[in-house]
């Protein structure tokens, strides 16, 4: 890597504040949905909103959206998440059919 090369992206403060507002809105939604007693649906709604929120944090706060050209990030991170989903899937396959 050459010294002085600008290999990072400075995100605008406005973008960060908008992401924060988005996170607060999603929190508001998930809390009010929880008050509605949707029964079995409530866990999926809560998890979908949590996934959206962490997606926002990963993409903007953790700069994954801006790590262009780094193929390692694109392989490593989804790889680990897939591994985790696989673990959860296999565990439930085991528990449900025991």
């Amino acid at each position: 890597m050459k010294t002085g090369e600008q290999n990072f992206h400075v995100v605008k403060n406005r973008t960060y504040v908008l992401v924060w507002v988005g996170l607060l809105i999603l929190t508001g939604i998930t809390v009010s949905v929880a008050g509605m007693n949707l029964g079995r649906l409530s866990i999926s709604v809560a998890l979908v909103i949590a996934a959206l929120k962490s997606g926002l944090v990963l993409a903007y706060f953790m700069h994954l959206k801006y790590e262009k050209g780094l193929w390692l990030f694109k392989v490593m991170i989804p790889g680990i998440l897939l591994l985790l989903i696989l673990f959860i899937g296999l565990t439930f396959f085991d528990v449900a059919f025991r």
Binding site: N7, T27, T30, A34, L47, A50, V57, L84
Partner: protein
């Protein structure tokens, strides 16, 4: 002496560590979901006892601290040292506030006789014992991460004050930020699982 600095390498190393953290908490999340699957009614009853406003307030605190953390890094990247320090101090303050809230929440539960292996808890059914065991271990491990994060961020503040981290060498602050955001993400999942899904 020339000091070798590898910006991308530092970040990849940090990400590897963060992914191992995801697997650490992932194991606990699997445990939670299996026990919830096996004891739906007990988990429902136990979760209703948790203080939802407390949890919501702590979520807002951590989300805001992530914002101030991100702003602190971008201020340093732009060479604005004073505002970077102010945002970093705000982040540390919010993290501390989170722990204070957590402390009062735990103390409240302990005063009600609900803590691991307490007589009051053991009288209840197995599912509720499991729920509170998971509640204490998962929020406890998360709280420990917040505490470690506070130490790291305080060290970063000192390094900025000493001028060891600046516009040209900000990767330690950026990596600390990554850690802080990961702790936030873990809370984003803990919050609905313990406080919202009843």
């Amino acid at each position: 002496m020339e000091i070798h600095k590898d910006y991308i390498g530092s970040k990849i190393g940090m990400w590897l560590f963060l992914l191992s953290e995801i697997l650490l908490f992932g194991g606990l999340f699997i445990l939670y979901s299996v026990y919830r699957f096996k004891n739906p009614v007990a988990f429902h009853l136990a979760a209703e006892e948790l203080n939802r406003p407390f949890g919501t307030f702590n979520t807002l605190i951590l989300l805001t601290s992530s914002l101030t953390m991100a702003l602190s890094i971008s201020s340093l990247q732009k060479g604005r040292r004073p505002s970077s320090q102010i945002f970093l101090i705000a982040t540390i303050f919010l993290g501390f506030l989170f722990l204070v809230n957590k402390y009062f929440e735990w103390i409240g539960k302990i005063h009600h006789g609900i803590f691991p292996n307490s007589p009051g808890l053991l009288e209840r059914n197995q599912g509720e014992v499991l729920f509170y065991g998971l509640y204490y271990s998962m929020t406890g491990l998360h709280g420990l991460h917040v505490l470690v994060g506070l130490f790291i961020l305080s060290t970063m503040l000192l390094l900025i004050l000493k001028g060891k981290i600046d516009k040209n060498h900000f990767v330690p602050l950026e990596n600390s930020g990554l850690y802080w955001h990961l702790v936030d993400i873990i809370w984003i999942f803990l919050f609905p699982l313990f406080y919202l899904v009843t």
